[in-house]
Symmetry: C2
Subunit: 190 residues, 2 copies
């Protein structure tokens, strides 16, 4: 029994049940075949389990290096990979509060350094980061809504079914946000 085995069991249960947040400690213990309280030897409480899961999912996502392409390509790849890592499990949050979300911090710092390498000064980079992060947060929640509901009734009218997939909508939105940031913030790409 280890942190990783606990996380993997939780993710397995999350696929069965709808959302990650309603995997209970009791169900998790049953899945692992251990008494409930045994889990508390590895995880201090339920909230810490969520952070453990976020870390686990974000760990394989890497921050692209300068030789991997232009700053825009690198940023897009970073956000795309982060989204697809988290997107499989609706309900996971990248709330970077608490010391547990080390991986979220690593990726946030990666995104910041890419923005700074694009020629945004520290202040503008943090503005751009904030906007991109906000968009990502909304994207992940939006993805979760679509994943956990068979019908998003009120949005059907705007979605134009079959028009664009969630992935395409993400790519479009990301491009739009990035173009906006370039238009609004002075920078010198290099």
């Amino acid at each position: 029994l280890s942190d990783d085995r606990i996380v993997e069991a939780a993710l397995k249960l999350a696929e069965t049940r709808g959302r990650l947040e309603d995997v209970s400690m009791r169900a998790l213990a049953q899945e692992l075949g251990v008494p409930v309280m045994t889990i508390y030897n590895y995880v201090p409480n339920r909230e810490a389990l969520n952070e453990l899961i976020t870390d686990y999912l974000l760990r394989p996502v890497c921050v692209p290096s300068p030789e991997d392409g232009s700053w825009e390509q690198r940023l897009r790849r970073l956000e795309r990979d982060a989204r697809s890592a988290l997107g499989r499990y609706p309900g996971v949050s990248l709330d970077p509060r608490g010391a547990g979300a080390a991986e979220a911090t690593r990726l946030a710092e990666g995104a910041m350094s890419i923005l700074e390498s694009a020629g945004f000064d520290a202040n503008d980079a943090s503005l751009a980061f904030s906007t991109l992060f906000t968009f990502m947060l909304g994207q992940i929640e939006m993805d979760a809504m679509y994943a956990s509901a068979s019908s998003v009734a009120a949005l059907e009218g705007f979605k134009r079914e079959g028009d664009l997939s969630r992935d395409e909508l993400f790519e479009f939105g990301f491009t739009a946000v990035l173009e906006g940031l370039k238009a609004v913030l002075p920078h010198s790409a290099r």
Copy 2:
């Protein structure tokens, strides 16, 4: 006892406790001075209560008319008002699933009609709406994080404390997203 009194009691409790979602039916009943099960004569279940609350908060938000300014001004005002209506109570979601979120639908349709009046065709308007909605969703969640946590440790470094408030960050991000949409989608403002 009425729907509105129930919602108001829930909001009052939400201010004391941190998040709206951990106002329990039992605590709500106690606040109202009625037995728990009495609430179920007005609200079918806990989830419906959330929709009732969203509707209540969004009801006073109005969709600006054409004479209220340019399409950009109207759109900004709509989103700003919606954000400030919901922002007071972290945990409220504008998930437009279920028939209960009638007000969210009204505002979504309002935003769509503003976009169409800006000269975006129906397809582009729905793309733009989707991007703006995603940004708003992230904004509201981000606001909730700041409101319910005394410290957002991992973000402190990027926030540059005292630099920009949450409100200013919203205005900046909104402008960026809108500029991006104008750059990416052909349209003819009128």
